[in-house]
């Protein structure tokens, strides 16, 4: 089977917008997330702000490492990479 990155979302987002795990094409976090949001456009605004940056209290991991480029999402994603979109712990 062809390898491709997978994108999973925090359970907390599911209450607002359904975001099932997805296998997508993409060499960077931006490309992978764009692919997810293309088929689930409503989810985009829950993860990214209108400038395309990761929302202030959201975090994105690639294989367990927090992405560094929250603005342009240029962090590379391996062919079998696992992207996880989570909430930052804030607000208590």
């Amino acid at each position: 089977m062809k390898e491709m990155p997978t994108v999973s979302f925090t359970p907390n987002i599911q209450r607002h917008v359904r975001c099932p795990p997805a296998g997508v094409e993409g060499d960077t976090v931006r490309q992978a997330l764009d692919a997810v949001f293309q088929s689930n456009p409503r989810a985009r605004a829950y993860v990214l702000d209108e400038q395309g940056a990761v929302r202030r209290h959201m975090v994105v991991f690639v294989d367990g490492r927090q992405v560094l480029d929250r603005q342009h999402l240029s962090d590379p994603v391996p062919r079998d990479g696992e992207i996880y979109v989570a909430q930052a712990l804030s607000g208590g």
Binding site: N12, H16, A45, Y46, E50, Q51, R55, M58
Partner: protein, 373 residues
């Protein structure tokens, strides 16, 4: 006369309805968005739609609408900034933080007038005013205000960034819109948002250096309301006190209220511009009710004198503060609803002479709004 109002709170939206029972005639009859932060609600008098602005924190600001009086809701288009130009840098003057081109909070929502049947206005933090020409199907940033050089001098009051909390659409002439900004004064457009003028002459900011105390651009109105039946009349609860205007915000006169002039909320009678209600707190430095007693202060003579109203409100060890949108008056001018930071909710049907408790364990109340009809 309205027998129904909406309550936007830190953890949900509630509908209050007058019932038949004599002893407890007002009660919560519906709830929505339980657990979610509802920053503003708008019952659109033109078609009965209800708009609810949610601030999900992690997931951003959303706008939901109900077309069936709150029975069901759907997420709609939310105001959003256009792409920030490459290399554009701008900081909030007080804290020197970069101004994000991101809607951080929906702080005001108003319907266009009868002569603007599809129009909606939305004020936000960090200071963007948005306009919908299609009843919320899409939103556009009002660039004439956002690009105004003086807008860039707006600064945050209690919040990190400035915000537009008040929008008054003039009855019968929806081309004239007045907004209140914390902090940035009062702004008026006469041409439906094409051009804007700051109209805060006479407002005074004691907390600023002497040479800037009357600078209209740095004023901090907490809430600005317009008398629908006498649209040249405005009232403002200001950080520095109470102000009113009788010339369409052309000039403002300071009013001394009782028991203090510090507060956030103000309501004006829909027809009698001299009649207004305030919810005074002790002072800027101690934001608690005066002597731990919740009171509402009413004037019927344009602010020359005030009657302190307390019947039905807690009179000892009460530390409720009323946020700027948590006082509203219905279209008759007899019914007022009042909510507090500590989750109390009261209603009066006699212009504040007596108050009835509707609930006392709600989440912090951000806004109350009467539903017309």
């Amino acid at each position: 006369m309205s027998d129904r109002f909406l309550v936007a709170t830190r953890k949900g939206l509630f509908t209050v309805q007058r019932g038949d029972r004599r002893l407890s005639p007002w009660s919560i009859v519906a709830e929505a968005f339980l657990g979610d932060n509802v920053s503003m609600v708008l019952p659109d008098p033109r078609d009965g739609s209800i708009w609810a602005a949610l601030d999900h924190g992690h997931f951003g600001v959303k706008l939901h609408v109900s077309r069936d009086r709150g029975a069901t809701w759907a997420e709609g288009s939310a105001p959003a900034f256009p792409p920030k130009p490459e290399g554009h840098e701008e900081v909030e003057p007080a804290g020197q933080r970069p101004i994000p081109w991101t809607v951080l909070r929906i702080w005001s929502l108003e319907a266009g007038g009868d002569d603007d049947p599809d129009g909606l206005w939305c004020g936000t933090l960090p200071g963007g005013l948005f306009r919908s020409n299609d009843r919320g199907a899409s939103w556009q940033l009002v660039r004439s205000l956002w690009d105004h050089p003086k807008r860039k001098e707006w600064f945050g009051g209690g919040a990190e960034f400035p915000g537009i909390h008040s929008i008054s659409v003039e009855p019968g002439n929806s081309r004239r819109v007045t907004i209140g900004v914390s902090c940035g004064g009062v702004w008026v457009t006469e041409d439906h948002g094409g051009t804007w003028t700051c109209r805060a002459d006479g407002m005074r900011a004691e907390y600023m250096p002497p040479e800037r105390q009357f600078d209209p651009f740095i004023q901090d109105p907490h809430r600005v309301v317009q008398c629908p039946g006498d649209p040249k009349s405005f009232w403002a609860a200001h950080h520095n006190g109470v102000f009113r205007s009788v010339d369409g915000a052309g000039s403002w006169q300071e009013v001394t209220a009782q028991p203090s002039s510090f507060g956030f909320a103000v309501a004006v009678h829909p027809k009698k511009a001299d009649t207004a209600w305030l919810v005074p707190a002790e002072s800027d430095q101690r934001r608690i009710p005066f002597e731990g007693r919740v009171v509402v202060s009413r004037t019927r003579d344009g602010g020359k004198s005030f009657t302190v109203l307390s019947r039905g409100l807690p009179q000892q060890h009460a530390y409720d503060i009323t946020y700027r949108h948590a006082l509203d008056i219905d279209s008759t001018g007899d019914h007022l609803a009042l909510g507090s930071t500590t989750g109390n909710l009261w209603v009066t049907v006699d212009q504040g002479d007596t108050w009835q408790t509707v609930a006392d364990h709600l989440p912090p109340v951000y806004a109350v709004r009467w539903v017309s009809g």
